[in-house]
């Protein structure tokens, strides 16, 4: 079902007109209300009246995550505090968190894009949705919550964690939809498989999974374990939260709600705009957000865009599942490595769980990569040779995918840290060691 057919299936001309009109107003708002942007635009000799269409975006300045930190907490807001009705913040693993604010209209816009997203998974008033994203400063829980209420679903705001209760309510309430991180979905699936739960008591039909990169191999695994169709939702708090783009039932890329968030793909080194179809860094300009509109925000996510028509009838541009974050990319002995590649290699070896962690060290002048893989009782026998065989299969699969040798450590279950439902995938000790 298409929530807003008028927009989602509009012609390219109609969309471009909407975008142009909104961009003009957005530039005016940031120029007159945010000293940071006024200075940046003035440096480039740009005055509000100069910008008339999205074709001119390519000449405008970028916004980086560091700009958000430098203007912590409210420096990029275009409205007075009295108009702000909500604040969210990123987990801030390094330094200060990044803060985002929402006006009442922003919350309404957010509900709209999440409603469009959920409709792609055919979630509606006859559904019971269990929202197992964390509620709080993280945008996942509350973001999906408001959109789910908008489509009229019955919402279980259970938040993250407490697996036992998740599984109990899932059965007792008959949840038809689950929204959580893909790694938590895998964890729930494993718990169902090894627990005393009768799979027939689980009525899930759709999963709304996002907030961390995941592979198609993990998708198949989760779909099989939970007996549902997995939908990829994309978003980041700086842009709005979940609901920037979402996959429809044809699972061929995520439709971007480009009437609100104008995407571009750039070469992260030269900063040139790349044509559709080319892989590069995803950049968004939020043309409708009131509280904190961002101009050409660099997401660090690597992907590509395409506009060929989707079978679902939507005409809005699609983005491929992110290949990884340029921030997450590790350069090990000169080879570019994404944690998602490690995950894919791991899942190629049958029977391995998806809980893993990369540990990078430097010994002398040589980088070393170790991958810790949790050993789950489902797949080990008590014979050393079987475990060693498993280790060899994982090592071979990684070596052929990554092109470098990897040391595999088999570790005890639950020994890899999980934070806020997001798995900690990488520990890079090289910076620590060199300082």
């Amino acid at each position: 079902m298409i929530w807003n057919e008028h927009i989602e299936a509009a012609s390219r001309d109609e969309l471009t007109n909407i975008q142009n009109e909104r961009l003009v107003k957005m530039i005016e708002r940031i120029y007159y209300n945010v000293p940071f942007y006024r200075k940046k635009l003035q440096e480039q000799g740009v005055k509000p009246g100069d910008i008339k269409s999205i074709d001119q975006l390519k000449d405008l300045p970028f916004t980086n995550k560091t700009d958000l930190r430098d203007n912590y907490p409210f420096g990029l807001f275009t409205v007075p505090q009295s108009d702000i009705v909500r604040l969210h913040a990123s987990s801030g693993t390094t330094g200060k968190p990044t803060v985002v604010g929402y006006t009442r209209a922003d919350i309404s816009l957010w509900s709209e894009v999440v409603a469009r997203s959920l409709s792609m998974a055919n979630v509606g008033k006859n559904d019971i949705i269990q929202i197992a994203y964390g509620y709080g400063l993280f945008t996942g829980g509350l973001g999906v919550h408001y959109g789910a209420e908008k489509v009229g679903a019955s919402v279980i705001p259970i938040s993250g964690g407490n697996t036992k209760k998740q599984l109990q309510l899932m059965q007792d309430f008959g949840s038809t939809v689950i929204a959580c991180t893909p790694s938590y979905a895998a964890f729930l699936g494993e718990s169902i498989q090894k627990g005393d739960i009768d799979k027939n008591n689980i009525k899930l039909k759709a999963g709304i999974f996002g907030a961390e990169p995941w592979t198609k191999e993990l998708r198949f695994q989760v779909e099989e374990m939970l007996g549902l169709k997995a939908f990829d939702i994309y978003g980041l708090s700086e842009i709005i939260g979940p609901g920037v783009s979402m996959e429809c039932e044809h699972q061929c890329g995520m439709h971007i709600f480009e009437d609100h968030f104008i995407p571009e793909i750039i070469n992260p080194k030269t900063l040139e705009v790349l044509p559709y179809g080319k892989v590069g860094e995803l950049v968004f300009t939020t043309v409708t957000k009131e509280a904190m509109p961002l101009l050409r925000y660099r997401t660090r996510d690597l992907t590509r865009l395409y506009t060929d028509k989707c079978e679902c009838g939507r005409t809005i541009v699609r983005m491929e599942k992110c290949l990884g974050r340029s921030d997450d990319m590790l350069i090990i002995r000169g080879v570019n490595i994404f944690p998602s590649q490690v995950e894919a290699a791991l899942l190629e070896v049958s029977n391995t769980t998806s809980h893993y962690q990369l540990v990078v060290n430097r010994e002398g002048n040589l980088d070393t990569l170790e991958v810790n893989v949790e050993v789950d009782e489902q797949f080990w026998s008590d014979e050393v040779k079987v475990l060693e065989g498993l280790r060899t299969r994982i090592r071979n699969s990684m070596a052929s995918t990554l092109g470098i040798s990897v040391k595999i450590n088999l570790v005890e279950p639950m020994s890899i840290a999980r934070s806020e439902g997001k798995a900690v995938r990488v520990i890079d000790n090289r910076k620590k060691q060199s300082s």
């Binding site: 080990w380 008590d382 014979e383 050393v384 475990l387 450590n409 088999l410 005890e412 020994s415």
Partner: protein, 141 residues
């Protein structure tokens, strides 16, 4: 004649074995037989305890990776040639063995054997009048 053995995956970290035995002690689990197979960075503890189901449960609750493996336990006289006699029968009948460990108690010695085919090993040993312990016997040693 089949005995449930507890197998626990243990990372090579100081204190991990102590932790495991502490949990068993606190839950009144008594260990009758115990062995460790060690690889480079992990080990597999195999043990016979008085209540394998409960032991598995409490270890799992404490985040250990634990399985129950079915083994047999045969009894031979505690004297030279005792084990040889039993193993001779197994090799003559082509019964494969994955691993084994033993403990002696007064005039008898007990040998725990893991074979890919428990039915065969039980049949062969019984035909040759080798004493096998029942689960109830060994759990209460």
């Amino acid at each position: 004649m089949i005995i449930e053995q507890l197998s626990v995956f243990i990372e090579d970290k100081t204190g991990r074995l102590t932790e495991m035995t502490k949990i068993l002690a606190e839950n009144n689990i008594n260990i009758s037989a115990f062995s460790i197979a060690d690889a480079a960075d992990f080990g597999i503890v195999r043990m016979i305890v008085n209540n394998p189901i409960k032991a598995k449960q409490v270890l799992k609750e404490n985040k250990f990776s634990v399985n129950i493996t079915e083994v047999v336990c045969l009894v031979v006289p505690h004297e030279s040639g005792g084990l040889y006699k039993a193993l001779q029968i197994l090799s003559k009948n082509n019964v494969p063995v994955d691993y084994m460990y033993a403990f002696a108690l007064e005039n008898k010695a007990s040998v725990i054997i893991r074979s890919p085919s428990n039915d065969t090993i039980i049949k062969v040993l019984q035909e040759h009048k080798i004493e096998l312990l029942k689960a109830s016997d060994i759990y209460s040693i």
